[in-house]
Amino acid sequence: MPAVAETLDTVQAATEGGYKWGFSTDIEMEMAPKGLNEDIIRLISARKNEPQWLLDWRLAAYAVWLKMTEPEWAMLNHPPIDYQDLHYYAAPKKKAGPKSLDEVDPELLRTYEKLGIPLRERAILAGVEGADGAPADGDRPQVAMDAVFDSVSVATTFKSTLAKAGVIFCPISEAVQEHPELVRKYLGSVVPTNDNYFAALNSAVFTDGSFVYIPKGVRCPMELSTYFRINARNTGQFERTLIIAEEGSFVSYLEGCTAPQRDENQLHAAVVELVAFDDAQIKYSTVQNWYPGDSEGKGGIYNFVTKRGHCRGARSKISWTQVETGSAITWKYPSCVLQGDDSVGEFYSVALTNNYQQADTGTKMIHIGKRTKSTIVSKGISAGHSNNTYRGLVRIDRRADGARNFTQCDSLLIGDQCGAHTVPYIESRNPTAKLEHEATTSKIAEDQLFYCRQRGLSEEDAVGLIVNGFCKDVLKELPMEFAVEAQKLLAISLEGSVG
């Protein structure tokens, strides 16, 4: 596996059954003309009122991208992407802020409603004037949400609470205006522009994403959450997320993805960069539920994501937790570079495939510092005719004395038409390293299903329960609200897989 493209998901085709969140929104959009060239990049940069250094950075990335070729992935099977046939910029048309929800585009509100966003938050998201000044509901857990509605972040919530703590949580385009020194210092410092084809593309054309900065010693007072929506027809979405945790700080960031059902494949090439300094901790959780395409192979999302965390400081810690149920084909490898001595990397993953889905997921743990520690827990569930592969790399550098890795890969098969594969790569250049690997493959047993059904559960509920039990070690790493959502998602994704 080359060191490029840490994460690579693509969607090609073929899953039956209803996609619960498959709907599309028809909102007046402002779009750039199709195609990619320097002028388009200048337009994006100008629209976002960016400083010269960032435009130069984008143009340099573009020049690098032009010289690169799209990686050829053995198992990747999708029609060639015509990069000139995409819009690289789309924004909901700006009007003066609506005075109340009645003035908000009903289509937009309906989208939020279907996403299950609470009413008050909908108002904030829709940019209703004054809506974000209201205090948070006392009885709800506080989740600050920065919604990326297509390319422009429509709104940011709970800003004042965060501001009091000194936390910066805003669209990255805003961070470019308000905190240019921070963005300039860290952007591309974990995933350089020339890292891989899609990272270079993202660097050239990224339109928005989230920026998080946690100052020294601060424990972020709430979970930070972003809902990504890919909504405009033929608009590639190039998000850029940058999270910086200063010495001794802590942040938990949640990323949830749903996308509307549509006919054309959509390109998604995000870059996520995490930086943790001495004693800092970043917990990054993802629930991914992208449309896997219909039974005829139409629709779905091409997803090429590079996710990488850099434990720069001593005793720092980065945890990736992901629940992947969507996409027709998924390639995804969030990774940790463990540079600080005693730093810790964790990867907890549930990947579920049904029907004809294929998943090739895993992680990379690069041990550089002394006594660095990594934990990998991967749960693969395959149903129908699907194929599920765990592919992971653990690399122990020559200097990484006393490094340790524990890897646990469990596969659960539902039915006898599906497959599960485990491909662990280990490169150890230090004899003091301790590496442990465990792998199991099991099936949902007939007696388990019968036991549940005898107690009154439907076959589908029984499968859902058993699968959630199988994934428990990963789900317990998710923040409470997300865990509940993930459990539902797993059950929904398995509908029709038995009987």
Binding site: Q454, S458, I466
Partner: protein
């Protein structure tokens, strides 16, 4: 009332039940005894609808409903409960959550209101206490790492919570110590009443000292070969199956 007429069933083409006739009137507790391999568990699986058991003839109705035509979960919602001879482990599935999911599924199927987590936990704790089960059994994963006796007690806890109309207990007494046996018997006796019937499958008279049955049936080679009152179990205890099953060793 459970009414079984001429029930025949096979597994993989092998005949196991060869014409069972059995009636358990509402409110009664009947015991089924019989040699190993005579078809007792098979009967319980056929009645509860396990896959792989082919019904070759006969009928079985419960409360007038043709239960053989129903899905296992529909039979459960209709009030049929099976305490398994070998309770099944569900790794990672929290016992309380499992029980609440099951109870609510049944309540939903019957058009009753579901219990929220707080209501359920209160109920479950009370029942667990009555069965002298420590609270932490509710927190543990279903049957995982439970001792043989704990598994059986967990079956009885489930029964107590689900409040079935017909309970089939398949050797629930096997592997229980004396105290546990009494607790389990108390659990069954507590449910006894005009709307509860039970089929108690056992090898031992000692359970029937605690759960005194209305009738005792001897199952051999897939047939009921003898029925009688509680005294039949005593006769078996004294003389073994030889008198009733000539071919039995």
């Amino acid at each position: 009332m459970l009414q079984i007429n001429g029930l025949k069933a096979s597994i993989d083409g092998k005949s196991i039940l060869n014409g069972i006739d059995l009636t358990v009137p509402q409110g009664e507790v009947h015991a089924i005894m019989g040699p190993n391999g005579s078809g007792k568990s098979t009967l319980s699986y056929v009645l509860s609808g396990r896959e792989g058991y082919e019904v070759d003839g006969g009928t079985a109705t419960f409360g007038g409903q043709d239960i053989l035509a129903m899905e296992p979960e529909e039979r459960a919602a209709a009030g049929l409960f099976l305490a398994f001879q070998y309770p099944v482990e569900l790794p990672g599935v929290n016992n309380a959550n499992f029980l609440r999911t099951a109870l609510n599924a049944q309540r939903r199927a019957r058009g009753e209101a579901e219990l929220d987590a707080v209501q359920f936990l209160k109920l479950a704790r009370a029942e667990a206490k009555r069965l002298s089960m420590p609270d932490d059994m509710l927190k543990r994963n279903v049957n995982v790492g439970f001792s043989g006796g704990e598994k059986k007690r967990n079956e009885v806890l489930q029964m107590a919570l689900l409040r079935p109309k017909l309970a089939i207990l398949d050797e629930t007494d096997s592997g229980l110590d004396i105290d546990a046996l009494k607790i389990v018997a108390d659990g069954v006796n507590a449910l006894r009443g005009p709307t509860f019937s039970a089929l108690v499958i056992t090898h031992y008279q000692r359970l029937l000292d605690h759960i005194v049955p209305d009738r005792v049936h001897i199952l051999a080679q897939g047939r009921i070969v003898k029925s009688g009152g509680p005294e039949l179990a005593h006769a078996l205890e004294a003389g073994g199956y030889a008198a009733f099953v000539p071919e039995a060793a």
